[in-house]
C-alpha cells in the first residue's frame, strides 16, 4: 500500500496532535503509513538532528511493522493500535478524529428594527427586512421576548436586530429560535458635540438667512 502526502495530511491534520507525540513516535507514525519516499525524507529531516542515528535507523528500517493504520480503513473488530513488537517501543494509538461541532444558527428571517413606542408590556417597532428591501413592517413585540440585559436599552429610537430560524446544536438538536439583539452604541463625546456645533454654525452662515 502506498499512501500519498494528502493521506498523511488527512491523518495528521490536527497539528496539536502531531506535536503532542514524542519525536520517535512521530517518525514511527509517519512511517507506518509507508509514505512516499520524498515525503518521508522531509519528515525525517525535521527530526534527525534531535535523534540518535540508531533510533533513526530503527525507525526507518521497516522491521517489525506488522500492520498499517489508516483512519478511514480500519477493519471492524480490529484495534486501532499498530503493533510494534520490537524493543518495547510503545505503540502509536490513534483515536478516530472528528471535526469539532459547534452550535450553528440557520436564519430564516432577519430584520433590523427600531423602537417607535414603548407600551406597558410591549414595544411597537418598525422592521426593515434585511433579506427583501421592499418589505417594511411594524410589529408589536412583548417585552417578555427581550433579554433582561437589554431592557435598559428599550426606549424609542433604539435599534435591534431580530433573527428567527433554527439553532442546530453541537449535540445534534434542532431548536426553533427567535433572537433579538440590541445594538449598543458608544457614548457621544464632548469633542463630537462641540464639533457638531461648529459645523452647524458654518452651515447656518452658508444658508444666509440673516
Amino acid at each position: 500500500m502506498s499512501l500519498t502526502g494528502s493521506d498523511i495530511n488527512y491523518a495528521l491534520k490536527d497539528q496539536e496532535d502531531f506535536e503532542s507525540l514524542n519525536l520517535t513516535d512521530a517518525i514511527k507514525f509517519q512511517y507506518a503509513f509507508k509514505v512516499e519516499e520524498t515525503y518521508q525524507l522531509d519528515l525525517l529531516t525535521q527530526f534527525q538532528q534531535k535523534l540518535t542515528d540508531e533510533r533513526v535507523a530503527m525507525c526507518t528500517s521497516g522491521k517489525g511493522i506488522s500492520s498499517v493504520y489508516h483512519p478511514d480503513k480500519v477493519d471492524e473488530g480490529s484495534t486501532n493500535a499498530v503493533s510494534f513488537p520490537q524493543m518495547g517501543i510503545k505503540p502509536v494509538l490513534q483515536l478516530p478524529k472528528t471535526a469539532k461541532k459547534v452550535d450553528k444558527f440557520n436564519s430564516l428571517q432577519k430584520w433590523e428594527g427600531i423602537i417607535l413606542e414603548v407600551k406597558q408590556d410591549y414595544i411597537v417597532a418598525r422592521l426593515t427586512s434585511l433579506g427583501i428591501p421592499s418589505q417594511e413592517e411594524e410589529a408589536e413585540i412583548p417585552l417578555s421576548e427581550l433579554e433582561s440585559e437589554d431592557l435598559d436599552l428599550v426606549e424609542p429610537g433604539s435599534v435591534f436586530y431580530w433573527n428567527i430560524g433554527y439553532l442546530d446544536t453541537a449535540r445534534g438538536q434542532r431548536i426553533r429560535s427567535s433572537l433579538i439583539r440590541f445594538r449598543r452604541i458608544p457614548y457621544i463625546t464632548k469633542n463630537q458635540i462641540e464639533g457638531a456645533a461648529v459645523d452647524a454654525n458654518k452651515l447656518r452662515q452658508f444658508i444666509c438667512w440673516e
Partner: protein, 383 residues
C-alpha cells in the same frame, strides 16, 4: 362646488398630462406617508413632501416621470413641510433630480439647533432612513451645488406665516403663500430641538425619534386666478392661539380667497380640526383629501364622520386596513404566533387622488390605486 368623480376602474389614464392651462393637484398616500404634486399651469410644477411607493421610489418622481415632465427644468419648488419621516422619505432623491428647483423649508429647519441635530446624528447608520438623514442629505446636495456653481449661499428658502413663496412672472395671480408656521411655533420648535440634542452622559448615535407635535408644519395656499387650493400638511392646533390653525384663520395678511380643494391636515385628526377653516377659508362642499396613517389609526371613524359631515366630496388615498404581511416560512409564522407577535405591512401600493380643473369649469376628480371615497375608508375589503 360641483365636482365630477371618476374611478380609476373606468379606465382613466394616469400618464395623461394636464393641459397647459389646467391646474392639477395630485395627492399620494400609502398607509404610511404623504406627498403632493401641484401644477399651476404653464409647466410650473411643485412638489410638497415625499413618500415612497411600493418600489421604494419617491411617489412624486415616479408620477412626474410617467407624465414626461422635465424634472430638471419644470419643477419650480420642492417644499419640505416638516421633517417627520412620513412626509420626507425620498425627498433627497427628488432634490438631486430636480436641479433647478428651489428648496423651501420652515424657518425652524434652518435654525442652529436643528442644524446641530443633523450634524450630530450619523448618516447611513441604519437600513431605514429618517427625517434627519433625509434632511442632512438635502443639505449636502445643496452645499455641493452651491460650491459647483460658485455661489456663497444655499438655494434654500424659508417659509413662515403669511409669506409669498412663489409667483408666476408672467401671471401675477398665480402664486403660492405659506400660511404657517407662526413665530411662536418656530420658537417652540427650537426649544424642542435643543432638548433632542445628544448629551455627553447618554448613548449617542441611536436613531432620533421626532417629537410628536406638528405645530411647525407649513400650510400652503396656492392660487390661480380665483381658484384656491389649501394644503394643510400636518399642522395641528396649538394651545396658544398665536399658532396653529387659529392663527391662520385670524390672519389679515393671508390671501382672503376661499379654496375649492383642501388637503385635510394631519391625516384627518381631531387635533388639526378647526371649524372656522371650513367656514371661512373653503368653499361650500369642497373637495377634501385625507391621507391615512394606519399605525395611529388616523383618520378614526369619528374623524371620518366629522369630515364627511362638512363635505360630500371627501376622498382618502388608501383604506385603513391591517394588511397582513407577506407569507413567511412556516417556522417563522409559528414562532411569531407562539410569541404573540403581530406584524403589519406599512408600505402598500400608493393610492393617488388627482384633481384637475380649468378656469370656469368644474373640477374633475380621479382615483388611482387604492384611493377611495372617505366614507368607505373602513368598509373597503381588500384581497
Amino acid at each position: 362646488m360641483p365636482t365630477n368623480f371618476d374611478n380609476s376602474s373606468a379606465g382613466n389614464d394616469v400618464a395623461l398630462p394636464p393641459d397647459i392651462d389646467e391646474i392639477e393637484v395630485s395627492v399620494f398616500g400609502p398607509i404610511y406617508g404623504e406627498a403632493i404634486v401641484l401644477h399651476l399651469g404653464n409647466q410650473n410644477w411643485f412638489i410638497v413632501d415625499s413618500c415612497l411607493d411600493i418600489n421604494r421610489n419617491p411617489a412624486p418622481l415616479s408620477y412626474l416621470k410617467k407624465l414626461n415632465v422635465n424634472l430638471a427644468e419644470d419643477i419650480k419648488q420642492i417644499i419640505v413641510s416638516h421633517w417627520h419621516d412620513d412626509h420626507i422619505r425620498g425627498i433627497s432623491q427628488i432634490v438631486e433630480e430636480c436641479h433647478r428647483a428651489e428648496v423651501v423649508c420652515t424657518e425652524a429647519l434652518g435654525s442652529t439647533e436643528f442644524l446641530q441635530m443633523i450634524k450630530s446624528f450619523r448618516i447611513n447608520l441604519f437600513q431605514e432612513t429618517t427625517g434627519i438623514d433625509e434632511f442632512a442629505r438635502v443639505m449636502q446636495i445643496l452645499e455641493k451645488r452651491a460650491i459647483q456653481e460658485k455661489r456663497n449661499h444655499l438655494l434654500l428658502k424659508r417659509a413662515i406665516s403669511d409669506r409669498l413663496l412663489w409667483k408666476d412672472p408672467q401671471n401675477s395671480d398665480r402664486c403660492i403663500h405659506s400660511l404657517s408656521p407662526s413665530d411662536t411655533a418656530v420658537l417652540s420648535a427650537n426649544l424642542d430641538f435643543k432638548s433632542l440634542l445628544p448629551k455627553e452622559d447618554r448613548r449617542g448615535c441611536f436613531r432620533l425619534m421626532p417629537y410628536k407635535k406638528n405645530w411647525c408644519a407649513i400650510a400652503l395656499l396656492a392660487t390661480y386666478g380665483d381658484i384656491g387650493i389649501l394644503l394643510g400638511s400636518d399642522l395641528e392646533e396649538t394651545p396658544n392661539p398665536s399658532g396653529g390653525w387659529t392663527a391662520i384663520v385670524n390672519s389679515h395678511l393671508r390671501p382672503q380667497l376661499k379654496a375649492f380643494l383642501y388637503k385635510v391636515p394631519h391625516h384627518g385628526s381631531k387635533t388639526a380640526h378647526n371649524n372656522d377653516v371650513w367656514r371661512l377659508m373653503l368653499h361650500r362642499n369642497p373637495i377634501a383629501v385625507v391621507t391615512p396613517l394606519a399605525r395611529s389609526g388616523l383618520p378614526s371613524p369619528s374623524d371620518v364622520e366629522r369630515i364627511c359631515s362638512q363635505t360630500e366630496n371627501a376622498f382618502c388615498t388608501a383604506p385603513i386596513t391591517n394588511k397582513r404581511s407577506r407569507k413567511r416560512p412556516h417556522a417563522v409564522e409559528k414562532t411569531l404566533r407562539e410569541s404573540g407577535i403581530t406584524i403589519k405591512r406599512i408600505n402598500t401600493e400608493s393610492g393617488h387622488v388627482r384633481v384637475r380643473v380649468k378656469m370656469g369649469e368644474d373640477p374633475k376628480t380621479e382615483l388611482f390605486g387604492q384611493a377611495i371615497p372617505l366614507i368607505n375608508v373602513y368598509n373597503q375589503k381588500l384581497g
